[in-house]
Symmetry: C2
Subunit: 205 residues, 2 copies
DNA sequence: TCAAAACGTTAACAAAAGATAAGGAATAAT
DNA sequence: ATTATTCCTTATCTTTTGTTAACGTTTTGA
């Protein structure tokens, strides 16, 4: 991990992605900006470690991320996040409890970070307080919607349908990561995913 | 559906359940209270209808609720909510889009409601605005945590484990509703749930 | 109250998924 | 460059789940 100044382009990207949720005027943005930090992660570096409290939420300015748990030595991938999305072990961050999962870079990844203490100052800041509350609300609501969709996919769709939907996102990183990551994410074994892929490719050729 | 005054006991219950998220002083509570409405639902009555926009979020003051979708005439249960919890077709409420599911009373159920317009007035109210934003944030964050857990259960647990976990909640209503509701919720067929139950009861006797 | 509909279980068979192991390809490490 | 590791696929066998249908019971509605 390497802490340094935030590249201007990535800051702009962040501001742009925030716009559906919160629009800052210039003075507000200056204050907000001053509460941000920055970290780069090499492939396989960890942003969050299972068992330790997660003290920041991050914005993926570049790269992509995998959430996973270790259970009896078995690595199980629970989620992916990509450039432009937020990343955090939310429960751990909110409740200051040990994180239940690892969060790891799938490739060279840059995060813009808001630490718990900085977030608290923002929430205490007379000018920004309400705006940040709103930001937090909209953010959490956004994730609620995403999660609802994912849960529905487990109930209403087959693993094959979930796989096709994931591939339709067109994230090229998905072509470059181990397939057992994807298998876990879909809720099946790697062997089973291999069979699904065979079915798909035979029928589409 | 039947709109009337909110029973004092249920209002108190609501206020109590909100406390982890938001504490009102008396004047604030009076304002907040004036923005609430109330509806009673008979068993099988619908609070939300698939295809129509959901215009309120509710607090289950009494009873319990089932979320389900109709696909090609097949009824698929996606979620349950119980007394003390919030209920809404969130995505539909937030984005004013047609709801993707029905929300139905499993038994005689009373809801304390905040309509979209009333919520908007609260958000515009000089005294309460920030508090309501905060309330919304904490609420959404709470659901994020619940959803994360549910998603993890699909990845890490078997249907049998999910069934046992659900039963451990000790909600007696679960004994009185059709089991195919529960089967859908767990992501298996009713026949499969029947086999799971047989396995459990044989081994525990 | 009585007929119709909905329910839960079971059986039999088919389809899908898990487990394990083997083999070759790709990747990483020294 | 070469060895070691990881990865993906395939095969085989076992277990689980889905599907359909039957049957008795319970619930519902007229």
């Amino acid at each position: 991990m390497n802490t340094k100044d935030i590249p201007a382009g990535q800051l702009l990207f962040f501001r742009k992605e925030l716009e559906p949720y919160i629009v800052f005027d210039e003075p507000q943005w200056e204050i907000f900006k001053s509460h941000l930090t920055y970290s780069s992660f090499q492939k396989k570096d960890h942003f969050v470690v299972q068992g330790k409290v997660c003290d920041a939420i991050g914005f993926i300015a570049k790269g992509s991320i995998r959430y996973y748990t270790l259970k009896d030595g078995t690595d199980i991938t629970g989620y992916f996040s990509f450039s432009g999305e937020m990343v955090s072990s939310y429960l751990s961050f909110l409740k200051r409890e040990p994180a239940l999962n690892y969060i790891q870079a799938l490739e060279s990844t840059d995060l813009i970070l808001i630490s718990r203490t900085n977030l608290q100052s923002l929430l205490d800041h007379p000018i920004l307080s309400c705006k940040i509350e709103r930001f937090g609300r909209l953010m959490a609501e956004h994730y609620c919607c995403c999660y609802e969709e994912r849960i529905a996919s487990f109930i209403n769709q087959t693993a094959e349908e979930r796989y096709l939907k994931l591939m339709e996102t067109g994230r090229d990183i998905l072509q470059r990561i181990p397939q057992h990551y994807i298998a876990n994410y879909l809720g099946v074994t790697p062997v089973s995913l291999s069979r699904i892929r065979k079915r798909i490719f035979v029928h589409s050729d």
